[in-house]
Symmetry: C2
Subunit: 191 residues, 2 copies
DNA sequence: GCGCTATTTTGAACAATGTTCAACACGGAT
DNA sequence: ATCCGTGTTGAACATTGTTCAAAATAGCGC
């Protein structure tokens, strides 16, 4: 049942998700979907919850021996995930609840935890900085990379080819780290 | 009529926009809304079109004498606009059409033109770089700033206070420019 | 002013879709 | 077999985008 919902979102976008389609594909009644998930938002949120879990799993698996390499790894992993699951990520970031109901605590926590993954390598690179400033820095880097990738993959806006994006992201991380006074992983092309 | 639609989106978000509400507020029939805008998407797109126009107007008004100051101005102007028109910006970037109908050419053009605004100052700062690379760079900076601001203002995710965001954005632009080998406008805090 | 035609406006009816809930089905305990 | 709790069902309802034939209005020639 969850599978089919996720399948529909992934294939045709959140707007194409219909309760009746899910019920039919799962060979059960409409009511059963409601018994399971409470309401439509509940279904979507369950899918989103698993999306952020899947993303987190991949991010956590990035090797952490070298902090610079790790930051590159995060960005590249995020890109790979976004390319493979564009609609699922959009569902996570763009879905708004009915009536301003509060965003589920646990999903919020998982997203924050994803932000926080960048904290450790940044702390190692800037050991004397204020911890809170590093936390903000981590969130900012995450947001910047997220912005580049999500706008970059937006087909509506003449998407940048993923291969090109990969190079851009790497260059962005290098440039930004260099701006922080840290040695980049590779040399930038001569200007 | 447009006013009321924009008002509803700005105040309560795109999801709260209803054809009937617009018709009632504009004191006309439902059908008239359709005569004017074709369909619901047409109404939304008209609002979005004016949103991007308003944003463009403000960005174009940023003084261009000093390229670094101009880039800071773009970022700060974007932040101000996003703070004042959060829901309108979200409508512009998050609204998906029915049935994968193509994104309107003219809105796409205006967004691209906004991306391209950063081209000129970047070119002045890096006169020897390949033009196409500068164009990509411009789009990337726009996207990064957009990401930082849009995630930063997301109330669902424990929004960063706008004043704090302002500082972060300025610091981000400085850091990035510094990474490109260009002198920052202000000194970064000592670490 | 009148008659006629073209254009615009109207809102009842329709379609799609999320939601509810009383009825039903099944399972196990007595 | 009876009864009770639990889970399932899908018809009915509410909301909301959409259509379209009819009514209203505007324009125009006389």
């Amino acid at each position: 049942m969850l599978e089919t919902a996720r399948g529909i979102i992934a294939a045709k976008g959140l707007r194409s998700l219909k309760v009746r389609d899910v019920a039919e594909a799962a060979d059960c009644s409409i009511g059963s979907v409601y018994n399971e998930f409470g309401d439509f938002d509940g279904l979507i949120l369950t899918v989103n919850r698993e999306t952020v879990q899947a993303l987190s799993r991949r991010l956590v698996a990035v090797p952490g021996d070298d902090p610079i390499r790790q930051l590159h790894g995060f960005a590249e992993t995020y890109l790979d995930f976004a390319v493979a699951n564009a609609n699922l990520l959009r569902s996570l970031f763009e879905h708004r609840m009915e009536d301003d109901r509060p965003f589920p605590e646990d999903i919020l926590g998982m997203v924050m935890q994803a932000f926080a993954l960048m904290y450790e390598p940044l702390r190692r690179l800037m050991p004397n900085r204020d911890p809170e400033e590093i936390a903000l820095q981590a969130r900012m880097m995450f947001s910047a990379v997220h912005g580049i990738i999500s706008l970059g993959l937006e087909e509506r806006m003449v998407a940048v080819p993923p291969e090109r994006l990969r190079g851009q992201i790497a260059q962005f991380v290098d440039t930004y780290l260099s701006g922080l006074g840290l040695a980049p992983l590779r040399m930038r092309s001569t200007d």
